[in-house]
Symmetry: C2
Amino acid sequence: MNRSALMPVEEAIARLLEMAEAQRLQDSEPVLLSEARQRVLANDLLATMDLPPWPNSAMDGYALNVNDWHGEPLTVSQQIFAGRAPEALRPGTCVRIFTGAPVPSGANCVEMQENTQVLDDGRVSFKQPLAMGDNIRPQGQENRAGQVLLLAGKRLGPFELAVAAAQGCTHVHVVRRPRVALLSTGDELVDPGTPLKPGSIYNSNRTLLSHWLSALGCEVIDAGILPDDARQTRLKLEQLQHAADLILTTGGVSAGDADCLGQVLRECGKPLLWKLSIKPGKPLTVGHFGTVPVIGLPGNPTSTLVTFGLLARPYVLRIQGVEDVTPLSFPISVGFAWPKPGSRREYLRARLEAGRAVLYPNQSSGVLLGASWADGLVEIPEGCTLEVGDTARFIPFSELF
Amino acid sequence: MNRSALMPVEEAIARLLEMAEAQRLQDSEPVLLSEARQRVLANDLLATMDLPPWPNSAMDGYALNVNDWHGEPLTVSQQIFAGRAPEALRPGTCVRIFTGAPVPSGANCVEMQENTQVLDDGRVSFKQPLAMGDNIRPQGQENRAGQVLLLAGKRLGPFELAVAAAQGCTHVHVVRRPRVALLSTGDELVDPGTPLKPGSIYNSNRTLLSHWLSALGCEVIDAGILPDDARQTRLKLEQLQHAADLILTTGGVSAGDADCLGQVLRECGKPLLWKLSIKPGKPLTVGHFGTVPVIGLPGNPTSTLVTFGLLARPYVLRIQGVEDVTPLSFPISVGFAWPKPGSRREYLRARLEAGRAVLYPNQSSGVLLGASWADGLVEIPEGCTLEVGDTARFIPFSELF
């Protein structure tokens, strides 16, 4: 095989995103805020009101008009609790006010109670110089009515849903869930809970990917386990092509005689990618079967994990309209040496210990335990060597969900 | 107020974790793998079998016995697909083998097909020197039967659930969900979907916290909105104390006359913490009402967010038995100056741009939009000043879910 023909990871991501742009889901639906976590906003969320809707006090204390005050103690003419509509400030007085309560018209300053003293006659004296605007949250400080609060394509987490709640929304309009048909290929696979036949192993990739897809807002169609048979593979893809927005497969994408999925895609479909410069995960295959996109992940669990996280994840987010599909990554110091430069970009399961990345001892692509042990992936570019203490890029796993 | 009396964040976390240890949930339940995401493992998960269960081929190629081979082309005596039980290797031959297929007894090496040539007479010649063990994944490479795969207290995500599936598990034993009563306090609060009265605002903290608590495995009891009234506060806490494992409140914890929750806890309960060295979030209050723990978060949305993420989150994880409750954090270069040292530890909403942390322009504790805009929190220790390019600690928000 010609190594120079391997496609760089960035190029593969760019091609997948281009493909995703052409497959952007057009339908949206209103969902309750309580159901909207991990969904993607379909339209810009506009503010329907100023927030706060009126100037309010940032402190428990006393509100007054500083322009009208010359250092003398002031009579308390009103108490304003949060949630009450105040009367206007009576000139020459102050008002007792609590955090979050509306500042009365005529007042332009709040002094925190710690800096005041209540005199025997009930008047309040102020200890420190006061300035206009002190301890007042102005109306519209957070947002103005009509302002765009969240852009279409924003993934909705607790913070974004709280922003919508603060506007009084009960629902948000979200992009419909992508329907992802999950298809495991391999004669050796059996479902957990069934007896293990000689030569067989349990299918763990379905569990891995169905949870991960759900976390990314997808509806998962369980398309079962497919035997290594070209005719059955073709039939299955024909069945699924109208039910799914994406067919996601694991296994069957190498060049071997048993790799029916790769074969069928090359014969009947339109393969886009073939052989990535990535380790683990080189035989990732992407294409179309008829009109439906197919992403064929390699079947070794760690290869599945790395290629899904780095390549399929951006795709399933982008078809929902998510702009920002790049996980945060951080330069970290490595606690290991990497003396042999690799011809493919390598992603190693690593944990941070005392600020340094430490490797899971067994980096075989079959070993899933390492991912559970690790905090994320260390990226080692093609041709790169490292000494202990050198810097590499680290992608926390938490960024990939 | 005496500033030196402010409690450092680490001490508050340590006290909360100590309190959580005493409240550790004892009950567990079996749940389907498909339902177990974001739950916490109740017992160590032990391997029931070696994985892989037999030596298998890491490549598509040919298996042979290198000790029995002297460079000559070999006849192919068997084809072994994944999922098939092979016959023993006939001496002096090789077998065609595919990725994942069991290596037959008698074979001790697999050569990848790229390095072989099929001759006209059907025999296979090998181009490169071969070594024992090449391209074979040994039995038990991932784990041995009886080995601890996941420790009790592990939070279950896609990777961990896939580890369980690979053992054939359909269920895992998880700690029961903590029942968290969520109580908003404040006369000014109204629920989204109801008309906004003069002086009132919409309650966004309930949405924020109910999604966040769900993501942390909790069952949320909606305990409604409580007016600023000491008697009603006491009654509500009495009602909730036997229904919940934790009462989580927002608002009403400052020292003002309207801060009933703080008052009631100080009078009837056992307050543990009072006044943290944190900004935003100083008036966090923790204690017990009767036997039930109460965590009183300040009510400004950003204060709620910071104190929940940094202080309440570790608590709700630890009562489920999670050992590792510390979010990953990273040293980053700051793209802003911080000339005025603060007396409290400050957590700023920041985004990473070109490798540097950039601040959301409005860091007011009332502003929730900044959290949605940001990638995480920059921590500025007490008394610290920063110049552009200096290093600070950054906690990605993704680490807090």
